[in-house]
Symmetry: C2
Subunit: 274 residues, 2 copies
């Protein structure tokens, strides 16, 4: 593990590291905010998953989360959104390949060797964080857009690992929208029965455990009607009596200005559900 | 004036505009945060001046100021740092030409036609803001690095316009450091007696009015010893009994992580000095 950046921030440290991922078979960057804390103190962790085209930088430069992580004494880890590098398969479009890993384990070629972001987030990165930073192994997960999809799917499938889930503008039903259908066809193949393991709405339909879930969605999000469709999540949660909190935020769009405006509430939500 | 961006942010609006500048003889962008306010309510304005290589975007995406501007009901305007465009003179280096206007009126060629950022900030932009937004014409000024130099110089020379001045990591004595000497030689010529109008330390030496000034400086700033030299400001303020508040912040660097950590204090400082 090599430290690439270290900046004092709200009394703690915003750092960026590079490491060799065995799971993804490439070099990966992640960012980590470490709040001020006492020697020997162990801290909870929130994982943040970013959306399409993003890397480990977007959240730490734009969301303004460090203030609240400092106040609540929580570590925030923000990984990259896909495997990276010259020898990692890619696609010309912004919504497939590098920058668009969709937090799944690909089964199709040429993707299956490197595109295993699900295992990377759930196992490899979490182990690396627990081994190298002062965590108390209590974690939760949040994300934005395709990363909101990732947070919902990873959280719902691992209730023994994550205490709570939150998302900004998530793709709630990837099997039913163009972004998800394109990615799932490429990474998982055309057999749609295999897609449900990576579809939050399908996972909630078959879920036996109820996890705390918070979703914020801007009403002026340009992807709202075609790609995000929070009403599908609202409907299935109502049907299943699943206690999700879905806030529609009047006038807000898909940007980090939206995330910054409500990230405090998400961090508080996770800390209240430890 | 053309609106390029509009994002809901902390109950208000983060906007970006483009306009034709008569002073700079080119098209210019500026950003403006408008907090939530009542109809017909008039609001104070803080002008933010960014540093070398920046434009109107850096502050609004990275500083996290909108939260505090919203809470304190103050407009924040962040202009670009120089004239821009294909027909505007430029230089290959990052610290001269486009992105490095140094907030002065150039007298030397090829700069004198466009490089008039001092007049642009003090007169043209302020008039444009007052004509198009709900201001109460009470303003103050702050900035970072070369923009901290700009805020100090513009504030000190115009105590009837600006109520208070603050700066992060400012170039306090440009006549005595490489960044300033290079820029002043190019823009103002080799006669150093003409530089003092744009040198905060020289202006304080000859100042008859005492304005509230707040400066924050990181102790781990890589430009501290060669370019920033806050001790020169501290010494002249002590000598002149000028009441500047200079905070050295242990461990902080020159980045927006530093600015974000203390921007709340700067906004409160300006609001307390209205």
């Amino acid at each position: 593990m090599e430290r690439l950046e270290r900046h004092a921030s709200f009394g703690g440290w915003q750092e960026v590291y590079k490491h060799e991922s065995e799971v993804l078979k490439c070099s990966m960057n992640f960012s980590i905010y470490i709040p001020p804390h006492d020697n020997n103190e162990k801290l909870p962790v929130i994982y943040w998953l970013s959306g399409l085209t993003c890397n480990e930088q977007n959240f730490i430069t734009k969301a303004g989360a460090q203030k609240y992580a400092s106040e609540h004494k929580v570590i925030i880890v923000a990984p990259d959104t896909s495997p990276r590098g010259e020898f990692v398969p890619d696609d010309e479009s912004y919504d497939l390949g590098q920058g668009a890993g969709f937090y799944l384990n690909a089964t199709q070629e040429p993707w299956s060797k490197n595109y295993r972001m699900y295992d990377y987030i759930v196992d490899e990165l979490r182990t690396l964080i627990d081994q190298n930073f002062p965590t108390n192994k209590v974690q939760s997960i949040m994300g934005h857009s395709a990363g909101g999809h990732g947070a919902l799917v990873i959280g719902l499938r691992n209730p023994e690992i994550y205490k709570s889930i939150s998302a900004f503008s998530p793709i709630v039903a990837p099997s039913q929208v163009p972004w998800g259908q394109k990615a799932f066809t490429a990474y998982l193949g055309t057999d749609q029965t295999l897609w449900s393991d990576y579809d939050a709405v399908e996972l909630i339909k078959s879920s036996s455990v109820k996890m705390p879930i918070l979703v914020d969605q801007g009403s002026d999000d340009s992807f709202l009607k075609e790609q995000l469709k929070p009403e599908i999540l609202a409907d299935v949660c109502k049907e299943k009596d699943y206690p999700v909190t879905l806030n529609m935020r009047d006038g807000y769009d898909h940007s980090y200005y939206f995330i910054a405006s409500f990230i405090e509430k998400h961090i508080k939500f996770h800390m209240n559900n430890r």
